[in-house]
Amino acid sequence: MRTPVAYYLMLSGILFMLGTVGVLTRKNALLIFMSVELQLNAVNLALVAFSRLHDDLTGQVLAFFSMVVAAAEVVVGLAIIVAIYRRRRSVDVDDVRELRW
């Protein structure tokens, strides 16, 4: 293991940042959702890197759980997006603002 663990953590942070910027700047609900997936994956990378650093499998198991939760989240989220699209013919998050007040 010659690559310093900090490189993986830095890469994971950069990917998380790109996902955050995507969530903040995109208007299409599907693309916002993809950015959230990017964030979840970045965190998984950090978990596995820490698992390797500390010679402990807990990080890998936690990353595994986070994948399961992400899968459940995708299923529910995409169903909500489809339901919204049916009602409004649009997936623009600016159009869905009834819950704002």
């Binding site: 293991m1 900090a6 693309l31 890197a49 595994f64």
Partner: protein, 199 residues
């Protein structure tokens, strides 16, 4: 230069570039494809970090199942590009980039203080000695057995929720469909931007 270093420096730029591509591209299908590239790169990193089981799960679950689900929904909705953006919060976009840059700087400092940029993981991953999948299974089914069982409930709830949300009785017609029919427009065609906002 050791081999894992070479692989890291080959795949790290690809993963960052594909993430940036996902951010910039306007077409939703292209964004999904960029995201698949990114997931494959992360799978390679899992392999480098001695997690071959997560490598396989990453490819099968993420690059396979989840992204196919995404592409399926994109095709179903026919959302081929972003609608013309009318900016409601003018400062939001620049502010997002500034805060993102600030986040990376903060992270850099935190990693330097916490882990240190020269710290390397031990050469041998002793937890993996009996085989990674076996070791993960042992931890998962002993120490984390209860969370594992709770996960199955979560998946069941998610499956039921998806069915409830996506199910529609044949007789139910939404207001948007009535409007589309009244306007005599094609059902695939998007209405004028913002027209659906007032029910």
């Amino acid at each position: 230069m050791p081999l894992d270093n070479v692989v890291f420096w080959v795949f790290a730029p690809i993963s960052v570039a594909s993430a940036i591509g996902m951010l910039l591209v306007r077409n939703a299908v292209h964004a999904a494809l960029f995201l698949i590239v990114n997931f494959f790169c992360l799978a390679v990193f899992f392999l480098l970090l001695d997690a071959p089981f997560l490598f396989a799960v990453q490819i099968v679950v993420y690059a396979g199942a989840i992204m196919v689900l995404f592409l399926f929904v994109i095709m179903l909705l026919g959302v081929d590009s972003d609608v013309p953006v009318r900016e409601r919060l003018v400062v939001q976009r620049p502010l997002a980039f500034i805060l993102g840059a600030a986040f990376v700087v903060e992270l850099f400092l935190a990693i330097r203080a916490g882990v240190g940029f020269s710290t390397k993981a031990p050469d041998v991953f002793t937890a993996n000695e009996a085989g990674n999948t076996q070791a993960v299974a042992k931890v998962l089914f002993t120490q984390y057995f209860f969370p594992f069982e709770v996960t199955s409930v979560l998946l069941l709830v998610a499956a039921v929720a998806a069915m409830v949300l996506a199910h529609r009785k044949a007789s139910t017609v939404t207001q948007a469909e009535i409007d589309a029919a009244a306007a005599g427009s094609d059902a695939d065609e998007l209405p004028v931007y913002g027209a659906g906002a007032t029910p």
